[in-house]
Amino acid sequence: MIPGISITEILSLTSILFFIGVYGFITRTNLISMLVSVEIILNSTVINFVVINKYLYPELLQGVVYSIFIIAVAAAETALAVAIIINLYKQISSVDVKETETLKY
């Protein structure tokens, strides 16, 4: 545990970050900006896993291992999303959600 800081303060911080990410995900119409918002959401949830492991069950490792897996899945998701965005830009010359109307043809 971090001395002088209770678990509720860190959980409040991650909740604030989570809802900032949700706000960005809804209001942005650019695909890359939405990807940035998704990164903020994922990171705030990862802090929750780590902090709950540290404060409530410090002798276990579940939270740390889960956060490692979440980071791996987030990296995979970002790589695929960037590939899709670049391919989309080659086809319709735009990465805006409003102009993305077709799946393949």
């Binding site: 509720t8 809804i26 791996a72």
Partner: protein, 196 residues
């Protein structure tokens, strides 16, 4: 001392996150995201998880941010400004987010957390043994599944980013068709011989 460091980190992270979702310049938005990620690595360092902080710095700050900046520079002009959503949409979204935040806060502050006071340092060796342990509570199966996932993502990203050159090859001639052609020719020859 830790208290002040945590509050400074939290302030930096929240301000950078708000700037990241509201900045109109694409590249600046990504750089603000970098500040958020580094702040999160700082929290891992404060919680005494050095390995996680190193992963956070290398994978996120080193890998994902570079990837996103790369795609931004490929897709946008560097001084292009993003259009902002309608004001009514922004206000409604902010209200919904504040209501959700209120629900979260009441839940967090009404739940009685039983905090332990024992400080256990998790070494990297512990995490490695847990990841490769085949006993009950070990993580060998998800570890292997995530390796297959990463391989599939690597192949998929290459195929998607290469576009239609890979996926739409002209259909090759099967050897069956090749074998049939001489037979027909022979038949024609036979027919011509018969007619002659």
């Amino acid at each position: 001392m830790e208290k002040y460091i945590f509050y400074v980190l939290a302030l930096i992270m929240i301000v950078s996150a708000i700037a990241s979702v509201s900045s109109r310049r694409m590249l600046r938005s990504v750089v603000y995201l970098l500040f958020v990620l580094i702040g999160i690595a700082g929290i891992y360092f404060m919680a005494d998880y050095n390995f996680l902080a190193a992963i956070q710095l290398t994978v996120y700050a080193g890998g994902i941010i570079v990837l996103i900046i790369f795609s931004v520079l490929l897709v946008h002009h560097i001084d292009m400004e993003l259009e902002v959503a309608k004001k009514s949409k922004r206000i409604i979204t902010a209200l919904a987010c504040l209501i959700g935040l209120g629900v979260f806060m009441t839940t967090i502050y009404s739940h009685p957390f039983i905090e332990t006071t024992t400080a256990v340092t998790t070494t990297t060796a512990d995490i490695g043994f847990a990841l490769l342990s085949t006993e009950a509570g070990g993580f060998i199966l998800p570890f292997e599944v995530i390796s297959i996932l990463l391989l599939a993502v690597m192949i998929g990203a290459i195929i998607i980013a290469k576009g239609e050159d890979v996926t739409e090859e002209p259909p090759k001639e099967t050897p069956l068709v090749k074998q049939e052609k001489p037979v027909e020719k022979k038949k024609e020859l036979l027919e011509t011989e018969v007619t002659v």
